[in-house]
Subunit: 205 residues, 2 copies
């Protein structure tokens, strides 16, 4: 344990840093003492960047991605295909999928997954606005790109049921072997699924 | 790599967080997105705590520990023995040694170690003020509690030479086996030193 730090200011900074995920009190103390040795302007820049980000970041009214513009850069880009919309859990997943350069359409950020255990229902998420988009924007394909977990599958199913009678194709990310992983270290569920969903060799589709 | 984050504010926050030691850009992004989901007041509290700590923390004029008081709580405590002063590299070491509850005297924080390779000489550290304290405060024992490294040993030796002709006993922390560690995993230098400095069994001193 960390004893008395002799300074309420240091103590406060450590307390606040230790609230961050994955940062315990020992790491928080190390970070605070690091900042104490830095220029005052450097610490001011860090504090201000965090405060300004939280205060001024806006969300795209269409896809709920973060942005500072009236529409996010992806929604307002003329090079993206507005007929294909990829549904993701959060902003980080937009960044992750963008880094693959394999999705040329738009996004829809749900802001979470349905999780009855955590008290998160469909009305807590941006699902209604997704249904509206499908109706208003003539979307042809909805790609469900949620995590392959209980919550992800529940949310996938809920959205699928809500879109069942709409003229839109609903697809889901392929599940199978991770590229580069040994077969013997793949879990049975994934391996079984990859057998069921096997595809023709050299299939380019 | 992390692609375009769609938001300059987020990008800034990630850049600033990634400057912290041990925090890469992926972790920085995770922290920033965590903060985006938090209450605005919570993020304000964090940013302000860091800025205020750096701006308002003062150093004890006697031992150079951090404090908000005219003298630090250790220097101003009547229950500490002012005749024994423990010399440490930095503020964190004061906290570490305090947590052992084995030192009842005062401290002297050098603010670093002599390191010619890094361009840190004796005049960059609080060594002159230590010599002055020895002369003015009738200190009887100086405990050198620096890391057992090249820099720590160099600094130990420099301070020892500066205090050689003063009426003060200079001691250094014992080096030997770590309690709870297997003998076979102790490095040879430490093991050799622990043989040379062996002490009578059941010696309580």
């Amino acid at each position: 344990m960390i004893g008395n730090l002799n300074s309420i200011l240091l103590e406060n900074a450590v307390d606040e840093l230790a609230k961050l995920p994955g940062i315990g009190r020992k790491t928080a103390l190390r970070l605070a003492l690091h900042l104490l040795r830095k220029e005052e302007t450097a610490v001011f820049d860090l504090g201000e960047a965090l405060i300004r980000m939280r205060r001024d970041v806006r969300y795209c009214p269409r896809c709920h991605n973060i942005t500072e513009e009236p529409l996010c850069p992806i929604c307002s880009s003329s090079r993206r295909d507005p007929k294909i919309v990829c549904v993701v859990e959060n902003v980080k997943d937009v960044i992750t999928i963008e880094s693959t350069h394999e999705h040329s359409g738009l996004y829809h950020v749900l802001g979470g997954l349905i999780s009855p255990l955590d008290g998160v229902g469909p009305s807590d998420l941006e699902i209604e606005s997704l249904i509206n988009r499908v109706e208003e924007e003539k979307i042809q394909e909805i790609i469900l790109a949620l995590s392959p977990t209980m919550e992800g599958d529940t949310t996938n199913y809920y959205i699928y049921r809500r879109l069942e009678d709409k003229p839109v194709q609903v697809t889901v990310l392929a599940r199978g072997l991770s590229i580069g992983n040994e077969l013997e270290f793949t879990d049975e569920l994934t391996l079984g699924r990859s057998i069921i969903n096997r595809i023709p060799f050299l299939n380019k589709s």
